[in-house]
């Protein structure tokens, strides 16, 4: 199938308005005849679910957490971007669009990015109206801070818990729709497959995680707000149960997977302390507004950070990138940290960290200002490490964080399966090869609240005469049978290798060769190792218990089975792209001073992979056409 991105006609700045003016919409009286299934209750899925219910569609929302308020959007700390230009610092929609395109290293779709910047303005209005207590100036007006990769202050924040506050607003909007009966929520439900009938997405197979029951649910359209799959690295900033399974199941049913290898490695997470570690907690990028990053100039330095004089410190970001300094984009900051650590300048017991130091800021602004800006982050840091970061620098380290890749979607956010839409991190469209800080909450929220409800109507307008979708069709039966067989197969193995042990090994392979720095030999090695590990999983995984009730090992095993397949496609994707761009850094394609070297002539496209079988994929290329911007060498020097 040829890819059609369905980008509307007209100049970039008019495309979204042109689309809205001409797209088909559904009469309010007909909306109540239409059912929509939303998978995921976070900012993108929850926003879509609430907004669609408000419009009058019948919505069912599924999520594995015990409440939608726990979706992983909750953990985003620093903020959400919007081109409000409240600071009078020269910001506007075009500048935000340009920053995002450049931040993504000219590997995203112009029209989508422009729309995200355009709608950002409405999103802040919406969230304020919902009661989000954003930070304010003493005048009572909204306050802003700055994030990496930009020269303006366009980030809105609610202390260090912005994601939580946006999610609460979204969750509350959902709860209102539950109350009025337009939205039905299925908590502790995990989707195990999607059902395609006559080429259209018509429902899902879900497992009730409390009772173990396998359920069929039908609808006229399905929306995935299923998030990212960074947990594939085992150690990541993601929640323990975040997973890539829904997206992967859809991929196997015909949805193309785009740029799967583009994973953002976040520069400021807590370093791993030992083998037992399950999670690398993120420290917000906003800390780089006031914190300075450095390592000792001397290899294997033994002095405590406070005892190392200025002349023996290497503020390597300020040294290498004087224009942006500590606020370079994440991919650049992570690679620079890795370079210093690999050169023997890492700090901490495992030499796997760099310092993030607030002394200069505290001396200049006073401890109270720093407390108000970042108090909860310092408290969180102390709870985990028992270190007071007002007195000594934090130790931070790069960690797997965000999936820029995801399900391929067109301008309408529809995947290559008609009737299946993907919103937020689950899709691929807006961030290119590197996401800018505070654009994640933005994309999730605008996709869910403002974009999807206006594009799904174009699809649903053809469904008003369809009538109820039945779950009795052979397609549902087959999908349910396949799901049950897989569950039984996993339980029958009764091996000796716990799920997490295999997952940790997968994570090590991936972090070594399919993360910050890649090369052909390493990627080929990774593919072989992944295959071996997959074989071992299916021969020797230890999943005790049964399927007739809660069984967390069974849940984890199902997710890992998919990760072991996704991992291979990530490596295949990275191998195919013989250039460096954004987070995808190929050692064989770099400039003399170690910066990424793009190859616009041969790789100015998004890779969309079609599933053939477990070992083979077909590559489809969506060419990226830049009409408004001229791709340049991305420089933050």
């Amino acid at each position: 199938m040829a890819l059609n991105a369905k980008i509307p006609e007209g100049p970039l700045k008019d495309k979204w308005q042109n689309y809205l003016a001409k797209t088909h919409i559904v009469n309010p009286a007909n909306r109540k005849k239409l059912d929509v299934i939303v998978v995921g209750g976070g900012l993108s899925g929850g926003g879509a679910a609430a907004s669609l219910a408000e419009l009058g569609y019948n919505v069912k929302v599924f999520f594995f957490q015990d409440s939608a308020r726990r979706s992983h959007s909750v953990a985003a700390q620093g903020g959400v971007n919007a081109a409000k230009n409240y600071k009078n610092d020269g910001d506007n929609v075009y500048r935000m669009f340009y920053d995002t395109i450049k931040g993504g290293d000219f590997r995203s779709r112009e029209a989508n990015v422009y729309r995200m910047a355009e709608v950002s303005v409405d999103l802040i209005d919406h969230m304020v109206a919902q009661g989000v207590p954003f930070g304010r100036e003493y005048s009572g007006y909204l306050s802003n801070r700055s994030f990496g990769g930009v020269l303006v202050s366009r980030t809105f924040y609610a202390r260090g818990q912005t994601g939580q506050q946006l999610l609460m607003a979204t969750y509350q909007a959902m709860m209102k729709q539950v109350k009025v009966g337009k939205l039905k929520q299925y908590n502790r439900h995990e989707i195990l497959d999607i059902v395609v009938v006559n080429g259209k997405a018509r429902g899902i197979i879900a497992r009730n995680l409390d009772t173990g029951e396998i359920e069929r649910h039908a609808a006229h359209a399905v929306v995935f707000g299923t998030g990212g799959f960074g947990k594939i690295f085992y150690l990541s900033t993601l929640a323990m149960n975040s997973n890539g399974s829904a997206n992967w199941r859809a991929h196997k049913k015909g949805a193309y997977f785009a740029n799967p290898s583009w994973t953002q490695i976040h520069p400021t997470a807590l370093p791993q302390a030992g083998e037992h570690q399950s999670k690398l907690t993120l420290m917000s990028e906003s800390l780089r507004n006031d914190g300075r990053i450095w390592v000792p100039k001397k290899k294997d330095e033994t002095r405590a950070p406070g005892d190392i004089p200025e002349e023996d410190r290497d503020y390597y970001l300020e040294r290498r990138y004087p224009a942006f300094g500590n606020l370079v984009p994440r991919d650049v900051a992570s690679r620079a940290a890795k370079e210093r650590m690999d050169a023997g300048h890492g700090v901490g017991p495992l030499k796997n960290a760099v310092y993030l130091d607030f002394k200069t800021a505290i001396d200049k602004l006073g401890i109270e200002t720093i407390k108000e800006r970042y108090g909860n982050l310092f408290t969180m840091y102390e709870k985990i490490t028992a270190i007071n970061a007002y007195k000594e620098p934090m130790k931070i380290s790069p960690a797997a964080h965000f999936s820029m890749g995801g399900l391929w979607v067109d301008y309408e956010l529809q995947t290559t399966i008609p009737g299946l839409f993907a919103v937020g991190e689950a899709n691929f469209a807006d961030h290119g090869a590197n996401r800018l800080g505070a654009n994640s909450l933005l994309q999730a929220s605008v996709d869910g609240n403002f974009i999807l409800p206006n594009t799904i109507s174009n699809y649903l307008s053809d469904e008003i005469r369809t009538g109820k979708i039945s779950t009795d069709s052979p397609e549902f039966e087959e999908a349910e049978k396949a799901v049950k067989q897989q569950v039984e197969k996993i339980l029958a193995i009764k091996g000796t290798m716990p799920v997490d042990k295999i997952h940790r090994r997968l994570g090590k392979i991936m972090f070594k060769e399919v993360a910050m720095s890649r090369n052909e030999k390493g990627l080929k090695w990774a593919i072989e190792e992944i295959k071996k590990l997959r074989k071992e999983f299916w021969e020797n995984v230890a999943v005790p218990g049964d399927q007739n009730g809660p069984n967390s090992e069974l849940e984890k095993a199902g997710r890992l089975a998919d990760y072991l397949e996704i991992a291979e496609l990530m490596a295949v994707d990275a191998l195919n792209r013989k250039e460096s761009c954004g987070a995808h850094f190929r050692e064989d394609f770099q400039t003399e001073d170690g910066e990424a070297m793009r190859d616009d002539e041969n790789f100015m496209y998004s890779s969309a992979w079609e599933w053939i079988n477990g070992e083979n994929w077909k590559l489809h290329k969506e060419p990226l056409e830049f009409t408004e911007v001229k791709p340049t060498v991305r420089s933050y020097k």
Binding site: S278, K279, N449
Partner: protein, 249 residues
């Protein structure tokens, strides 16, 4: 370090549960409490035994899904921590720890340490929202809000809905949880329009769900991971009385 764990095991809400003892050794002080349970579960899985079911997700103290009572204290020995933020350095080598689910009539046990907290969702459904649909909002800076009011609203809005307040309360009251939402929204100009219906609907829903009454003991505020303040309960009572008086006028 070594620890003796006495962990609550219960098949489901209808069966009786009991404490089961597990001996743990070779633990590191830097391990988080839940990582210790991961290690224990891995050892059970290798033996083919059913693992201990417990709720957890973000493991950084913000999602509110983790929910254990450790040695009689909701979320463990440190004040204002979640269970996932608790590390073994808070315990001594050789300690015996009693690990139980959050106990309350309104939180039925699902299995082992997992409980059903959907009663808290239903309280929010009753009125814990602002009825502004997508698309309705005015320009954000059209509603100036004093810095201190916004900060104070945030203090209440920070509630993570974990239910530790309920688990620790002798009456299993969810007053702190309910009052945090009422206060968050009542403090802000956007939330004032619906304040009277909201407080009555939410307080009634709280009682209908079987949560107990508040006696202002304050144990809830002692354990709250987000340090939601007891004054929010006072504010809830004020809002409730104000709403009832107004509706009688």
């Amino acid at each position: 370090m070594k620890l003796t764990l006495k962990i609550w095991r219960q098949e489901n809400a209808k069966t009786k549960g009991k404490m089961v003892t597990y001996e743990m050794s070779d633990l590191s002080q830097d391990m988080s409490f839940l990582e210790m349970l991961d290690v224990l579960n891995e050892s059970l899985a290798i033996k083919g035994e059913r693992v201990i079911e417990f709720d957890h997700d973000c493991r950084e103290g913000i999602c509110g899904q983790c929910s254990l009572v450790i040695n009689g204290q909701a979320h463990g020995p440190e004040s204002h921590y979640t269970t996932c933020q608790t590390h073994l350095r808070s315990f001594n080598d050789g300690d015996t720890l009693y690990i139980e689910p959050f106990r309350a009539n309104s939180f039925p046990v699902i299995r082992d340490l997992k409980v059903d907290r959907s009663s808290m969702d239903r309280i929010i459904q009753a009125g814990g929202y602002i009825s502004s649909f997508t698309g309705m909002a005015p320009e954000a800076n059209a509603i100036p809000i004093h810095h201190d009011i916004a900060e104070s609203a945030f203090d209440s809005a920070a509630c993570i809905g974990c239910g530790a307040c309920v688990a620790t309360c002798k009456n299993s009251s969810a007053a702190l949880f309910v009052s945090a939402k009422i206060s968050h929204l009542a403090k802000l100009p956007q939330g004032k329009i619906e304040r009277e219906e909201r407080v009555q609907w939410m307080v009634n829903a709280h009682d209908d769900e079987g949560f107990g009454s508040c006696t202002n003991t304050g144990a809830c505020a002692m354990v709250c991971p987000q340090e939601v303040q007891l004054i929010d309960i006072t504010r809830m009572n004020f809002e409730y009385n104000r709403a009832v008086c107004h509706s009688k006028e």
